[in-house]
């Protein structure tokens, strides 16, 4: 597939679909959107199949470069990390369209157009190789999401749409100034070149903070997460799926693509800040999730907690941590998306998100209860599901950097089990106190077909994660090598002592052979 602009094609297909959707009736728009997203899914799989994951080839593949925009260029290209996130996007999109098939009845053409445009931008974010092109794609996502929340959202949609838009915009604008500074300093807008450029460590701190403002809001990290519960609760089901599934991953992708490789010294210097915020997020938002009475809000808070595991994994500065962070991102994208779909299924029937209005659904909706239980367990991080792999690796990574952070963040797993199982108990088990909830019909074939593929992939990711880790490994190793010189000394270095020759007593002066582990032991 050398030289074939497959990435541009993957953006052109949904774009053409989006334009077509604006001019046709409701039913045609649904089919156009479904077909366009399925074509993109097939293209995405072709992309994966043709991706050279041996690590011996070029890091950046499928590159395109067309300098048509004056100060920046239409430069696309992916590495393994971007490939996985693009695969996640194209996998979730047809499911989102399917989830909106019946739930959206008004202004269907515009709705489908907004979603397809969103897909163009999400692929663009992950594929952009030009700094300014990335920013444009990153920011442009605000427009369709604002409209999706504002037009098709719940009762409080207008407040939520404003909050979403202004919060994320304010976070991002300072990043743009930092980008301009970097381009003037380094003399290039190409992301691969900037990733290798060594910025002055004193300036790095400022640049890091400017990027951090943007990615922390997008991620979202405590204390700038407050837009997320509002946006999730008010957005239509598919909007929540895409928000949790892909948009939040843009923050993590930003850290892994920009913050860590471009500002390694500043990342190391400010890692305690990231750890601190993540620790608070894990414990605090998990406790908040425990007391929610609204299902979507609960899952939204759990997203914040999971994303905090991602940030600690990323800022562990070692391969295990970063691989774990990527796996949590992928796993959470699937599981949180599926949980929002599960909420959507019963919301479509009873039109309320109040947990107390349900109960005992396992009696009248056994298939639903089974799938919901599966995704609940996946969210908790049960071994054999995708989230276990990611959380385990991320926590193992952070343990090498800071045992205390690992200790606090691991409580998130326990708290996660508490709030998810409590949610499941209240919805699916217990007495059937509400007559209308007890009369709900089980999953339709359409809903089953939406949830089943996600369940299959979650299992696959849990049982054989190597399929997903292999494409990313060379890039993560390269990233680790890039940040290694600056990586903060860990407090939990397991020292491989030299075998003691008989008669001599050495205390604590054995050298640590591991490359990044040469810090002082505390």
């Amino acid at each position: 597939m050398d030289g074939f602009p497959i990435l541009s094609l993957m953006m052109a297909v949904p774009m053409a679909g989006a334009i077509a959707c604006l001019f046709v009736g409701a039913n045609n728009a649904r089919w156009i959107a479904l077909i366009a997203t399925l074509i993109d899914f097939v293209l995405g799989m072709a992309l994966w199949a043709n991706f050279d994951q041996s690590g011996s080839g070029a890091q950046w593949q499928f590159q395109e470069y067309v300098p048509i925009f004056g100060k920046f260029a239409w430069a696309l290209g992916i590495d393994g990390i971007a490939l996985m996130l693009i695969a996640l996007t194209v996998f979730l999109m047809p499911i989102c369209i399917g989830a909106s098939w019946r739930a959206i009845e008004k202004r269907v053409g515009e709705y489908m157009a907004a979603f397809l445009f969103m897909e163009v931008l999400m692929i663009g974010v992950f594929a952009a190789q030009d700094l300014y092109l990335f920013y444009i794609m990153f920011e442009a996502g605000l427009i369709p999401m604002y409209l999706i929340i504002g037009i098709w959202g719940g009762a409080d949609r207008i407040y939520a749409s404003y909050k979403f838009f202004l919060y994320t915009l304010l976070g991002s604008v300072l990043m743009l100034i930092a980008m301009m500074w970097m381009v003037h300093e380094a003399g290039t807008t190409e992301i691969p070149a900037l990733m290798a450029y060594n910025f002055d460590p004193a300036v790095q701190t400022w640049l890091f903070l400017a990027f951090f403002a943007s990615f922390a809001v997008k991620m979202p990290m405590w204390p700038v997460h407050t837009w997320l519960p509002d946006a999730h609760v008010q957005a239509p089901t598919a909007g929540s799926v895409i928000l949790a599934g892909v948009l939040l991953k843009m923050g993590g992708y930003g850290f892994i693509r920009f913050s860590l490789p471009m500002f390694p010294e500043a990342s190391a210097q400010l890692a305690p800040l990231v750890w601190g915020l993540s620790m608070v997020a894990v414990v605090y938002t998990s406790l908040v999730a425990l007391v929610q009475s609204d299902m979507k809000k609960l899952i939204a808070y759990s997203s914040v907690a999971h994303m905090a595991i991602v940030t600690v994994g990323l800022f562990a500065f070692n391969q295990a941590g970063i691989e774990g962070a990527m796996m949590v991102m992928l796993g959470h994208g699937l599981v949180a998306g599926a949980l929002f779909l599960c909420v959507g299924v019963i919301y479509d029937r009873l039109h309320t998100r109040e947990i107390a209005r349900y109960g005992g659904l396992s009696i009248n909706m056994p298939r639903y209860a089974l799938l919901f239980l599966f995704f609940t367990m996946a969210s908790v991080g049960l071994p054999g599901t995708s989230n276990f792999v990611g959380e385990f690796l991320a926590l193992m990574g952070i343990y090498q950097a800071s045992t205390w952070v690992a200790l606090v963040c691991t409580t998130g797993i326990i708290l996660g089990a508490a709030y998810m199982l409590y949610l499941y108990r209240r919805i699916c088990y217990g007495e059937q106190v509400n007559a209308d909830a007890a009369a709900l019909p089980d999953l339709s074939a359409r809903e089953l077909w939406l949830l089943a593929p996600i369940a299959a992939v979650v299992l696959w990711m849990g049982i054989y994660p190597e399929s997903f880790l292999a494409p990313m490994r060379p890039d993560i190793v390269a990233l680790e090598a890039r940040v290694a010189p600056a990586a903060p000394a860990g407090d939990a270095q397991i020292k491989l002592g030299a075998p003691k020759p008989a008669g001599e007593a050495h205390h604590g002066d054995a050298s640590a052979p591991s490359h990044s582990a040469s810090g002082e032991a505390h």
């Binding site: 300014y132 604002y146 037009i151 749409s161 743009l176 100034i177 500074w181």
Partner: protein
């Protein structure tokens, strides 16, 4: 001495003057019935003047011993001015015929204003500047009160006249101080004299000149006339005010600052930075509470002038190029937005101006709603629309010039501005429909609106061309 080269260099002004006078005769002897004919002919005149720019450029850069300049900068600005003026003429007939006010004077006044604006951007001397400015202003005062039976329009004209005269006085006072302390009225002469040190008197002159110009570009703290005049003036006239004279005044300010006052760069830079930031912040904050769309656009124009001035504050060729690019994109957005506003008519075809009346527009007039949303998102500076690129260029220039803090504050304040643009989109897309608008708009409005929207959406493809043109324009000043 008048030589033929100088006359060829001022060809655009000659075309407009002669054309305007002929049209005036047609109007005087033909009566109001000739309105549509004069309208079309005045657009033809402006197009002719546009072609004359090529002749002007070939015989530049100096004409009449430096009183007048025909350089790339003036050609760039004039192309924008003529385009904006022609659009303002084309958009007018449908509006005025509703009230039976379709008169041939409207296009003729705009043609004469265009002569004045051409003089402004081509001025190489303080007196050419002043004559051009007054010529434009006189036509504008009359235009503002064009709907003579309408109290608001007369009020707008009167306010504009009184405050405009005050500003002209301040400007003239500044010019006389500069002349007194530097001994010259030509820009080159002033620059040479200031090179030897900026005296207190010259500094006073500089401040007064900038204050007078700040009034003309409606920058804070000399913006007070703008909301009243924009709201009161007939909508096509507001379209005109928000576009062509804005370009002329900004270009004029840039030329004075760079050509005449560049040795005092550090002195005016702090003034421009102050004016830019206050305009951005005040324009954004004051717009939030507005309920009248034209008034909101007035604050929006104040806000936009602030961004444009950030480019000037850099004082670098890249900064000036950014300001000029900003104005080009701003003019397209503004004309597009006003083409939308001109279509705001109730079921009986009467123009309405409240933002609330836009509620639910997306369900009755999909195309118009989409265009409105495109212009509003673009003005808010959200990529991938072209309005983002305008802001990008000025901030990029500021960062390159080392004014990172200015860029950071400016861009953070742009988020405040985004709020009120979002409010309009919210009204159009999220609110339930109220009274419907008339079923379809005028053909001319739709064409202009579609063209502007296309540029705003696909504008990035024009980047290389725009970069080249604005860089050439900026280079001719340094």
């Amino acid at each position: 001495m008048i030589d033929s080269t100088s006359l060829l260099a001022v060809m655009p002004e000659l075309v407009l003057t002669v054309g305007g006078l002929i049209l005036l005769m047609i109007a005087a002897f033909g009566g109001d019935g000739t309105a549509r004919l004069v309208n079309s002919l005045s657009v033809v005149t402006l197009i002719g003047a546009g072609f004359a720019l090529l002749c002007s450029l070939a015989h530049g850069p100096d004409a009449f011993d430096g009183l007048y300049r025909a350089d790339a900068f003036s050609v760039y600005a004039k192309a924008l001015i003529y385009g904006a003026a022609a659009s303002a003429i084309l958009l007018a007939p449908r509006f005025f015929s509703t009230d039976g006010m379709l008169r041939p004077e409207y296009p003729i006044l705009i043609v004469f204003a265009a002569v004045g604006m051409g003089m402004m951007v081509s001025a190489g001397d303080m007196l050419t500047l002043y004559v051009g400015l007054e010529m434009n202003s006189l036509a504008s005062y009359v235009l503002a009160s064009f709907m003579r039976q309408d109290g608001r329009s007369s009020e707008a004209g009167l306010k504009y006249f009184v405050l405009g005269s005050l500003a002209s006085g301040i400007l003239l006072y500044g010019i006389s101080l500069l002349y007194g302390f530097t001994g010259s009225t030509t820009f080159d002469g002033i620059a040479v004299a200031l090179d030897g040190g900026v005296s207190k008197g010259a500094l006073f002159g500089l401040v007064f000149v900038l204050a007078g110009l700040a009034f003309k570009i409606s920058a804070v703290p000399f913006h007070m006339w703008t909301p009243d005049v924009y709201e009161g003036a007939p909508t096509p006239v507001t379209t005109f005010f928000a576009s062509a004279p804005k370009v002329a005044a900004i270009a004029l300010t840039v030329r004075v600052a760079i050509e005449a006052l560049s040795p005092a760069g550090l002195d005016w830079q702090q003034i421009v930075i102050f004016v830019a930031l206050t305009s951005i912040i005040f324009g954004a904050v004051a717009a939030i509470g507005q309920s009248n769309i034209k008034r909101l656009m007035a604050y929006s124009s104040i806000n936009n002038v602030g961004f444009a001035l950030i480019g000037l504050a850099c004082g670098t060729p890249a900064g000036v190029a950014a300001t000029m690019s900003y104005m080009a994109i701003y003019v397209i957005m503004t004309i597009g937005a006003f083409a939308c506003i001109l279509q705001m008519r109730d079921a009986d075809g009467k123009p309405v101006e409240t933002i609330a009346s836009l509620a639910g527009l997306s369900q009755s007039r999909k195309g118009l709603a989409a265009a409105f949303a495109i212009f509003m998102f673009s003005m808010a500076g959200i990529p991938p629309l072209f309005g983002f690129w305008a802001k990008f260029l000025v901030f990029d220039a500021a960062v390159a010039a080392g004014l990172t803090a200015l860029a950071a504050v400016g861009i953070a304040a742009s988020v405040i501005g985004a709020f009120y643009y979002l409010k309009i989109i919210k009204t159009i897309y999220f609110d339930e429909p109220t009274a419907a608008y008339e079923a379809k708009g005028g053909a001319v409005e739709n064409i202009i609106l579609t063209a502007c929207a296309a540029v705003i959406v696909l504008g990035y493809l024009l980047n290389p061309m725009l970069d080249q043109a604005s860089a050439a324009a900026a280079a001719s000043l340094f």
